[in-house]
């Protein structure tokens, strides 16, 4: 059951990722990313990370993707020109992507982490649920938590400054 679910979610995540890269229209790319994000949430659930999965669906697939859809609708989903600005770009980019994957695969396979081949240790039912993550965030990781709230505030102010309507321009 778990294997079947993993492969379905993995195919969804990979298909969504390839769809983002391959679609000519940015609007379809955004829709493919939504498929990718939902499949990733299923994978997080399989890894018993319930809170991260919920945050993925609510924050990413909910809020961030709505922002993307609005901006693509505002800017207009223009198709990109077909010509390569760097000669052979269409050919070189997949080759470099493959090189990155091979490098990462070598790093994984040659690592001396013995636990990598196992399912991980037995964990209780409370592993990764909102209560446990919240306790960690507000006790051990209080400073990063507050720092990320300042970062969010700065990003919101920055976006208003960047995209705000100017009278003179």
């Amino acid at each position: 059951m778990e294997e079947a679910l993993f492969f379905v979610a993995a195919i969804g995540a990979l298909g969504g990722a390839i769809g983002v890269v391959a679609m000519r229209n940015p609007f379809y790319s955004v829709l493919a990313l939504i498929v990718h994000l939902f499949s990733l949430a299923v994978l997080f659930l399989l890894l018993s990370a319930a809170f991260v999965a919920a945050a993925q669906v609510v924050v990413y697939a909910g809020a961030v993707m709505v922002l993307y859809v609005f901006v693509v609708a505002y800017v207009g989903g223009g198709e990109e020109s077909a010509w390569d600005s760097i000669p052979g770009q269409r050919f070189l980019a997949p080759l470099l992507g493959l090189a990155v994957f091979i490098e990462l695969a070598i790093a994984v396979l040659s690592s001396s982490l013995i636990a990598l081949g196992t399912d991980g240790p037995e964990v209780g039912a409370g592993f990764g649920d909102p209560a446990a993550i919240g306790k960690l965030l507000l006790e051990k990781f209080l400073l990063p938590f507050e720092a990320s709230s300042i970062l969010l505030l700065l990003a919101a102010v920055g976006a208003i400054v960047l995209a705000g309507r100017r009278e003179s321009a």
Partner: protein, 99 residues
């Protein structure tokens, strides 16, 4: 499923995202490919946190999510600003800052 599968899947997703950034020229799609790479790293973080049996990796993943949300907000603000000035939405045309 052994943790290895998740880590290999995450490296595959990262490679696809990197390929997209090299291949595409629309800034919106480049931002989407950045999201792919950040999500791949999130998957690796959560997989390793499951491997160790420790929840701290999941807190890392949540913080990465916050940073990704900030990056999206600023990036999309830039794209809207570029569009308002009637500049072309193509990273090869926008080369004014190039040295």
């Amino acid at each position: 499923m052994s943790i290895e599968w998740y880590v290999v899947l995450s490296s595959l997703l990262f490679a696809v995202g990197a390929m997209g950034i090299l291949l595409r020229r629309s800034p919106v799609v480049i931002l989407l490919c950045l999201e792919l790479m950040l999500n791949a790293s999130n998957l690796a973080l959560v997989a390793f946190s499951r491997m160790v049996g420790n929840q701290q990796g999941q807190v890392f993943a949540v913080v990465v999510m916050v940073v990704a949300a900030c990056e999206v907000v600023v990036g999309l603000g830039l794209i809207v600003a570029i569009f308002r000035r009637k500049l072309p939405l193509d990273v090869d045309e926008l080369r004014e800052l190039r040295g």
